[in-house]
């Protein structure tokens, strides 16, 4: 009996937590646009829009900057990816779930330039990180680097 009451209490408490933070129920976003300058477009399937400050980033986004465009992304683990002018970046895969110990970071720079700065993902699971270009793949350990494709 006591255990039933106890588990009900836990259930009610969990529901309470859930409703308190239902504004945060959007758990699929993986990062945000923290800085942006000039024209930067984001494509997802058939949708295309101009990137704005505080836009949420999702897996599968294709980010393209024009000649005057630059953008700075912060992922939920603290990884930063800044993208320079005339670039195309595809966010292939991103997973940061320390509860389940599942991690992935796979982005492709097809053209242009980018600076990667590692976050928690780099500390907890460096082997999950992959930055790709048409010519090579970059693996990291607690690092900041510049990659150029031209």
């Amino acid at each position: 009996m006591i255990s039933i009451i106890f588990s009900r209490t836990i259930l009610v408490f969990s529901l309470y937590l859930f409703f308190c933070f239902s504004a945060l129920a959007d758990t699929t976003f993986i990062g945000t646009v923290k800085t942006v300058q000039g024209k930067v477009t984001i494509q997802e399937n058939t949708i295309e829009f101009d990137a704005k400050l505080n836009d949420k980033i999702y897996e599968g986004y294709v980010i393209e900057t024009e000649k005057n465009g630059n953008i700075g992304l912060v992922f939920i683990d603290g990884t930063q990816l800044s993208i320079g002018p005339s670039s195309q970046v595809i966010i292939n895969r991103y997973l940061f779930s320390p509860k389940e110990k599942s991690y992935a970071f796979d982005v492709m720079l097809n053209n242009g330039s980018a600076i990667y700065t590692s976050g928690k993902l780099g500390a907890l699971s460096p082997e999950s990180i992959k930055v790709q270009t048409p010519e090579a793949t970059i693996g990291v350990r607690g690092t900041k680097f510049l990659v150029e494709v031209d």
């Binding site: 836990i10 308190c20 800085t35 509860k99 600076i115 010519e135 793949t137």
Partner: protein, 195 residues
């Protein structure tokens, strides 16, 4: 129809313009920074900040690391370097054993957290609960969420402008101090990260 075909061919050719990849390890405050650059033809390790490797194609080995002029590179990519988001600030709050009550010295940090968030435009506040490894991992996950929620409630009562909160709990999976299954006060914490 024929015109369409011709255009497609031109398009494909344009996409196939060969590119070269250049990767430069940048100086950072983290120690032992290291990257590996690899493809079908070989692997190259770069562990000295300021060194760069170039890769001409998948069928060419990455070149040996070579020191580059960082000042020149920063100028060359001035707008990219300038767009980098501001670094985050992290605060650690500590708790009584087995509960969600803040230690008194940690309570004093709350005002500083609020001031830091107010200094940024549209801040993102990550509130991450952690526990030590004493007890079951399920219990620790629930406990660390309770701790994160307690901190979130404290901060949410202040009206920080355009703030976005993310609340999470890692339980015992990301200890600050490596310890066995014993009580470790340093791991009983909530991390508040402000972006």
């Amino acid at each position: 129809m024929e015109l369409f075909l011709i255009i497609s061919v031109v398009f494909v050719v344009l996409l196939n313009i060969p590119t070269t990849t250049k990767v430069t390890l940048l100086p950072d405050e983290k120690e032992n920074s290291q990257i590996t650059v690899f493809n079908e033809s070989g692997t190259q390790v770069v562990d000295k900040p300021g060194d760069a490797v170039a890769v001409a194609s998948q069928s060419a080995r990455p070149t040996a690391p070579k020191a580059v002029d960082l000042e020149k590179i920063t100028l060359q990519h001035a707008s990219l370097f300038a767009i980098q988001p501001q670094k985050s600030e992290t605060f650690l709050l500590y708790f009584e054993n087995n509960g969600a009550d803040l230690l008194s010295e940690s309570k004093l940090l709350i005002d500083k957290i609020i001031a830091t968030a107010n200094d940024r435009s549209s801040p993102i506040i990550n509130i991450i609960g952690h526990s030590d490894a004493a007890g079951s991992s399920e219990y620790n996950l629930a406990l660390s969420l309770k701790r994160a929620t307690a901190v979130a409630n404290l901060l949410q009562s202040e009206n920080i402008k355009d703030v976005e909160y993310r609340i999470d709990s890692y339980g015992e999976n990301d200890p600050l101090v490596k310890s066995g299954k014993e009580i470790e006060p340093k791991n009983r914490r909530v991390e508040v990260e402000i972006w």
